[in-house]
Assembly symmetry: C2
Homo-oligomer: 393 residues x 2
């Protein structure tokens, strides 16, 4: 039939999805079972244990939302925000903006603070607004997929100490599985992610965790959660001891996530994060040796998503098309304010490999040169190779 | 590792998920591509064409929602209902009740009408309420998964003729792919379904279609859709000509749905519906020959989901457990008001086979007898076999 489909085996180095381990792809081909089958319930329990491990939390309400990362964002806000609640959203990219949009649709009394796109937030700025606004929710993005910026969160527990009424809501879509995410230690109350980035599972689920304080707020709402589908008062009962039917869980996607988390647990979080860091650093060596710039300042660079400055005179859309057509390689363009200014080069999960770094630098050199941009021959690959030699010693 | 998982190859004859064709399971193992990859866009186009075909509609906004059937229900309501809109919901089972709950969370001015669980709605009753209430939305379930009742919709276009302001919203979760669903002919404005029933695709997506009248209402809303994730003003642009990024589509699930729809298109809708009808009728012959009752009246019985009366004195939970443990066979219990009164026996999509009918009747006879219930030996299977002989002549 004409609609037969054979998707090409791309090298996925964009902002997600990342490549998926064949073990995970094949897990989805396992036999279908019912959503209340004792065997599926065993799978759910194992899945929750591994999610708690990757989030570094003891939170009982730790589950995969039956939707993609953005459904996780929505689940986070609709459950804890009641109309009129003061919500402070920190915006330094597209996903901060999205948070504000979602919070507004929940009827929040919304206040936003901004940092320049490509920069992290200064703690003092956040602290000042916290004091002035006394929000019920403080929302911030750990890993801004649109800019490649990592927001350090280590000091947020202390920052929020004087505000026991404030819940901390964090987006870790592009960090979970690539960078450390320490929900309990950092005092995060609501934390969500997506499966298709550093977890290297197909898109379709959104891991999320709620602290007991967040659960308390949800239980004591005066108005029903506006989303039936994402209402944790009900979803939580299906994933909790009651096992009450709410909606049919996406069985095969849950198989995939369990297998992806098993792989992570076999690798170990420490070695996995170190692998992400090493490949990121090799990429940076290569990029800089080619005379290109990494616009994000060093301590705030994501290991999983690298913002690379587009040199003047380059037709960046054409270059990405050449990478895809001639090198079977996907990278991302800039979003919003950074459109045309940066490329977004993902090194996430299964895609974060030495091979990919070297192949990307080679392909980038070739495609830049095809547009008449002078690149010292082999400089990128050589620099990355040298870095690996030193790093592997 | 101890959390290795090997789900058993169940025979799924419950209210869904149904068994999945290995072609569909393997489609999910195809290589991951990006959500804006030209090859994925080709897949999206083919998927939309086949969805239009199964819905029997020309609606351009015909897409899979990135969530399960209940997300489809939510997408239907949140988009077309604005706070204060009069919404009339017809309730004769759990899913009608769920519609009312969802509509209420959208701020609807809600009115409900009821028919007894296990019965379809009388047109006169609906007409009377339409006239009195003049709703913006009339919502009804085509195939009530909780009761096994089919609601005939052939006359709804005429019924709604005098009310050009009223949109018809229909749940076809358990009918699409098993019974004819004629969106354009029946005058349906918003129609959603799920993938894990008669489409025999894993749960995780919700096919939905909006008429141009429904799209008009969505475009002219005075207030933003309360769900960012399900906002058709944005989702529609990703699936429309613009291809604007909204959220990352669940790539592998979309592969699965495309393959499931390709299989349906190869079988043909007519032959597929006839297969569902034939296996349903064989099951009824068998059930009645065993001295059991089908509580739903004949013209209103779903072919895809059979309500079977539980005979007095039977421990129904124990019987279902025996079916699962000893026969590897899943059927459903009753929900809500019908808990303990009926079993729900699915014959959906890939699960609707002669083999499954005969195996179920055999297993049911054995498990009933194990509880001391007198069943004429082999009566069920014999009656079904005779029916198939006649039907295949």
């Amino acid at each position: 039939m004409s609609n037969e489909f054979h998707p090409p085996a791309r090298i996925l180095m964009g902002p997600g999805p990342s490549n998926v381990d064949p073990r995970v792809l094949l897990a989805m081909a396992k036999p279908m079972v019912g959503h209340l089958d004792p065997e599926f319930i065993r799978i759910m329990n194992n899945l929750q244990d591994l999610l708690r491990s990757i989030f570094n939390t003891k939170n009982s309400l730790t589950i995969p939302i039956s939707g993609t990362g953005s459904a996780g964002m929505e689940a986070a806000f609709v459950n804890v925000v009641e109309p009129g609640d003061r919500v402070l959203v920190c915006i330094n990219g597209v996903f901060g903006e999205r948070m504000a949009d979602v919070a507004e649709r929940c009827g929040a009394n919304l206040k936003t603070i901004s940092a320049p796109w490509g920069k992290a937030f200064d703690l003092d700025v956040v602290q000042k607004e916290l004091r002035a606004f006394q929000p019920k929710i403080l929302a911030i993005v750990h890993a801004e997929t649109s800019t490649g910026v990592l927001q350090p969160l280590e000091e947020f527990a202390d920052l929020l100490q004087p505000y026991p009424e404030t819940l901390l809501l964090v987006d870790t879509v592009t960090s979970l599985g690539g960078h450390p995410v320490k929900v309990d230690e950092w005092g995060i109350d609501i934390c969500y992610s997506g499966t298709q980035k550093c977890l290297s599972c197909p898109p379709g689920l959104a891991p999320i965790t709620f602290s007991s304080r967040a659960m308390e707020k949800i239980k004591n709402r005066s108005k029903k959660v506006q989303s039936w589908y994402l209402d944790m008062n009900m979803v939580g009962k299906y994933w909790g001891n009651e096992r009450t039917y709410h909606h049919t869980a996406p069985i095969s996607m849950n198989y995939a996530l369990l297998e992806a988390l098993r792989i992570i647990s076999e690798e170990g979080q420490g070695p996995r994060h170190e692998r992400h860091r090493r490949n990121h650093r090799a990429l940076v060596q290569g990029i800089e040796a080619m005379g290109l710039k990494m616009p994000v300042e060093e301590p705030y660079r994501l290991w999983s998503l690298n913002a690379v400055g587009i040199p003047p005179g380059i037709d960046e859309v054409k270059l990405r098309k050449a990478l895809l057509d001639e090198y079977n390689l996907e990278i991302g363009g800039g979003l919003g304010a950074l459109k045309g200014k940066i490329w977004r080069v993902g090194l996430m999960g299964y895609s974060s490999t030495e091979t990919n770094v070297l192949y990307f630098l080679t392909a980038l050199e070739q495609t830049l040169r095809a547009q008449g941009f002078e690149v010292p021959k082999g400089a990128g690959v050589t620099a990355a190779k040298e870095f690996y030699s030193r790093a592997n010693k």
